[in-house]
Amino acid sequence: MTKRILVYAALAAGAFLSVFPYLLVVLTAVKTQAQLSSTPPWLPGWPPTTDNLAKMLGGDFPRYLLNTAVMTALLTAGQLVFTTFAAYAFARLRFTGRDVLFWLYVATMMVPSAVTMIPLFLIMRELDLVNTWYGLLAPYILGTPYGIFLMRQFFKSLPAGLEEAARIDGAGPMTILLRVLLPLCRPALGTLVIITVISSWNSFLWPLIITSGDDTRVITVAIATLKDGIGVDYHLMMAGSLIALAPMVAVFIFFQKHIVRSVVLTGLK
């Protein structure tokens, strides 16, 4: 009994720590400037105001949100298709140079991103793709080594017998992947989708470097610009943050089911 109480106490404390900063964002986003200075950060200001949110949504924010959503959707689609193909090959097929190539992939995860940005920018400039959607998307749309590493681990956890049976029935690699393995991978794919959606939505350094106009500006860059523009107006800043964070929370609540199912399914074997 004492143990159960301790378990619940630990979980409750952890849960509070997890959401506390988000609570601060929400509380602050609905404060007026006067309330911001007269109340401590963790207490609500009364009455709450929607002025900050309205001010943010009345400007260019919806446009940046749309840009971010389009970028996120395209990068996620690309990641799903190309990462799955590559991870399947690395996990389940044998071919010359497989281990060397996989090592190369893993090695690229070790490259400090802050510095590959310089050569990447130089390459994009050569290709005349600076400040275009192509330039923004190209480096990430063909899948990422991290995603491949992740999916490869999942593919390797599936029993080999499944494939052998299909192969005896005359199925080729493509059929095996699409008909046999992928349906079992659906939960893992859910995880891959979440990871990609969130990292695309939050990506900052590359969009900052490669885009300069409103046509391709994304929400993170807009918020950073906001920071320079309005200084310490925390209520506006947090309103912008709330607008940027809310879609991710929504996506997470929607996909959370898949993560849990992924966990349950892995447990079946």
Binding site: L11, P21, M110, A114, M174
Partner: protein
Amino acid sequence: MTGRTAAARLPLRAVRGRGRRPGSGWHAYLFIAPSLLGVVAFLLLPMVIVLVLSLFDWELLSAPEFAGLDNYRRLAADGETWHSLVVTAGYVLLCIPLQTVLALALAMLLNQRIKGVRFYRSLFVIPWMATPIVLALIWNWIFDPRDGAINSALALVGITGPDWLSDPAWALPAVALVSVWQHTGYNMLFFLAGLQGIPQELYDAAATDGATSAQRFWRVTLPLLNPTMFFVTVTNLIGAFQVFDTVYAMTNGGPSRSTEVLNFRIFETAFKEFDFGYAATLSTLLFAVIFLVTVAQVRFFGKRTTYDLS
């Protein structure tokens, strides 16, 4: 990498003979072709460019000038860089053990039959979704020495909290804490999946043999979590060595360089001093460090993988 060790244990002929038809290899190349194009064009090529650049003296406005190993000689004598390596090591040692142990503990808590278990699983992952730029703003405020949440809470129990982000002794732990806050729940998911993959029969058998719960943890849970542990530690370490956004937005490397991790120093050298050649040399160093640490991990985990679960 784990595949390599697993395959190495099988007799080679058995691998070649089993279910392999002539010409089946080219499918594999078709499968990896798109991602390979991406990796070569946008990761390997930039890597090569960085390597080449490290042999040049290039400050934005001047033309690149071949300098041979000059940058590397300069590196050997550069005390600030060694300082930033020490800072990086400190950051990694503060984050990784703490967040790995916490994530595993949380996963074990949430692997039980508990009311609202799905709700808790979701809540703990929420920090991971936060945008680093936004996150840094919020945490800077939480760490505020006067009306920040942490010191206000400490004051309630009569403790005067430190001046977190302006105190060279506390700034790095504070930044590390934010990283632990953000990544623990996410890693918990992988441990949870790993735990659920361990067959209950193994625990039953261990219990029949009279194993205590500590023995079950060390002899059953941990060894069988090896593939998960491998994935989690490799990716987290690689990430931690490259920490940038949080440092950039929270402390900007200060106070007195106490949070100047190597990746941040690279950024400063490139974009503030416009010393691209030397920045490329520094990133070669960072790459080498990460590479060595990863190889060490592969060897460590490779030796321990006695179960074909990878």
